[in-house]
Amino acid sequence: MAGKKSARAESHRDLLRQMLRIRRFEERCVELYSGEKIRGFMHLYIGEEAVAVGVSHALTADDVVVSTYREHGHALIRGVPATTIMAEMYGKATGCSRGRGGSMHLFDVARRFYGGNAIVGGGLPLAVGLALADKMQDRNRVTVCFFGDGAVAEGEFHECLNLAALWRLPVLFACENNLYAMGTALARSHAQTDLALRAAGYGVAAWPVDGMDVLAVADAAARAAEAIRAGAGPHLVESRTYRFRAHSMYDPDRYRSKQEIEQWKKRDPIDALVASMKAEREITDDDLAVLEKEISEEIDHAVAFAEQAPVEPVEDLSRFVYSETSETSGRARVGPVEAAS
């Protein structure tokens, strides 16, 4: 009994820790962006942490993640080091995409993190293909594809749901419904705002879930992943969530009211988990302080790493347009997944 309870507490602490890592990391990003260390588009995940953390909780290290341009959180909790993520946002050579990607295009094949895709809906077919490869090669993996409510309006969403269902591919469609496609509210762009119902039309099992409750998300994702691994084909989990900050650093946030934002902030997923853990006596203020300190040190380290990281030489500008193996060793055959693992 005590063992089970402590395992539960451990699991909760891990969920909290991951959410806090994302939150604190992004808060530092805002500061660095304002200080012109980070440039380009930067989309923050603050408020939505429960979704990434809950879904990822259901995955093993072997599973694959395809993400969006709001992917700092997904990358962090899939094990991409904070150092290489930060260096990437600094545009440095030791960044996880060697300075070619920036905030929107984080990649780490060794962690099976197939990137930030900045075309809304563009990652969905990739996920379907990755799952197809797994199926054809008899690998029992789940491919998770994160996408937002905006992507549900794209043709690629419908094509991919159909194709994945048709071929019974091991894809977990993880919809992060934060109610706004940039500035367009869900009700202004979807005739049917219950997005999970869309999946039903393709014979895909789908569950809507409270995206501000990390335990609920984790539970739904675990059930979906289990079914997928059992060969039941694709599943969709729609997490209803909210971003506390504007769409990107450029966004004046004119399309929603202050009251609405404040309302949602009362349901902050981190506060909610902390409250429940305290009630269950799973965590103390001292524990929390230690956790915060650890995370702060991790982020300090990442910033220091990025600050001193070298920049990619301009002479290397046109590298990685074609595979270097093809130029140097002629017709070498490279399986990227195998090569990286």
Binding site: P125, M136, V321
Partner: protein, 326 residues
């Protein structure tokens, strides 16, 4: 009529796919109607029966999804051959081809290569009108990260697929619709996918063509030869990266260039080749560069209008005469 070992371009392509499916179990073919129907142009006829529905996959009419899935499968260690019915339909998958296939390697700092082959039909000449007849390979040749092939001969149709599958990066193969019934020698096997080929040698003028216009350029060279003008015919074969050396070598000998391109003239491949000649062989030119391109209209249906819109042997001959005279 034909020699024993002569096959059609269609058969050559089918043989190439069959060989690839046999040689490497990571290879599979997918696209609209490639299975039960046998391929819109009957290229994959019989392959479903031979290899089964896992490796010869009919897809829904979802170009973005199945092209993107091909990219994902390539990332996952497979070697997909994706067939798109015509180049016009490929526009539905352009997002995936440009924003993912051509871009992932660079955007990921070298982590993700995409060993994918996409085949599609291109070109006019079959009265299929304006949504099945365009030559948009020049658009694709604009994109860094892709290799663009245009097999013009049975030998290339037979030999280009395997090296394309061995290429660690995405390769697009454009098959001109008018060529499927053409017969020829399949050749000994593999060919390179890096160079242009000199299909005929002459000293007076260089005709630069590719894919569906190569045969027309050769026919024009015959006409010219009867008039005493000997033409070099360069078959580009690879539209990206362009084999500048072969082009410049030829123009360096003949000092006159005629570029034949079934694409539209404005902002197209012919413009690219023309300016490269100006950049690299300006002092070799003894006459203005000539171009024979498709008229700047959507391809019309009526036969006489379609014929008038496309590069034809007489227009190539006329351009060559102009180059030699001016």
């Amino acid at each position: 009529m034909s020699a024993a070992n002569t096959i059609t371009y269609r058969e050559a392509m089918r043989e190439a796919i069959r060989e690839a499916l046999r040689r490497d179990d990571r290879v599979f073919l997918m696209g609209e109607d490639v299975g039960a129907y046998g391929g819109c142009f009957a290229v994959s006829l019989g392959l479903l029966e031979e290899f089964g529905p896992e490796r010869v996959r009919d897809t829904p009419l979802s170009e973005a999804a199945f092209v993107g899935a091909g990219i994902g499968a390539a990332l996952g260690g497979m070697r997909p051959i994706v067939e798109i019915m015509t180049v016009n339909f490929s526009l539905l998958a352009l997002d995936q081809i440009l924003n993912n296939a051509a871009t992932l390697l660079h955007m990921s700092g070298g982590q993700l290569n995409v060993p994918l082959v996409i085949r599609m039909t291109t070109g006019a000449g079959r009265q299929l009108a304006a949504q099945h007849s365009h030559s948009l390979e020049g658009w694709y040749a604009h994109i860094p990260g892709l290799r663009i092939l245009a097999p013009a001969t049975v030998e290339d149709a037979r030999g280009m697929l395997w090296p394309a599958l061995e290429d660690p990066d995405p390769v697009l193969i454009f098959e001109h619709g008018s060529l499927y019934g053409v017969s020829g020698q399949p050749g000994p096997g593999q060919v390179d996918i890096t160079s242009a080929a000199l299909r005929r040698s002459g000293k007076d003028v260089t005709l630069i063509a590719y894919g569906g216009t190569t045969g027309k350029a050769l026919a024009a060279a015959d006409v010219l030869s009867a008039e005493g003008t000997e033409a070099d015919v360069v078959d580009l074969r690879v539209l990206r990266p362009l084999d500048d050396a072969t082009i410049m070598e030829s123009v360096g000998r003949t000092h006159r260039a005629v570029i034949v391109d079934e694409g539209w003239r404005s902002g197209g491949l012919s413009a690219e080749i023309g300016i490269r000649i100006a950049e690299q062989a300006f002092y070799q030119l003894d006459a203005p560069i000539q171009r024979v391109c498709t008229a700047e209209v959507p391809i019309p249906y009526a036969r006489h209008l379609e014929e008038a819109a496309l590069p034809q042997v007489p227009s190539i001959v006329a351009a060559a005469r102009e180059a030699v005279a001016s």
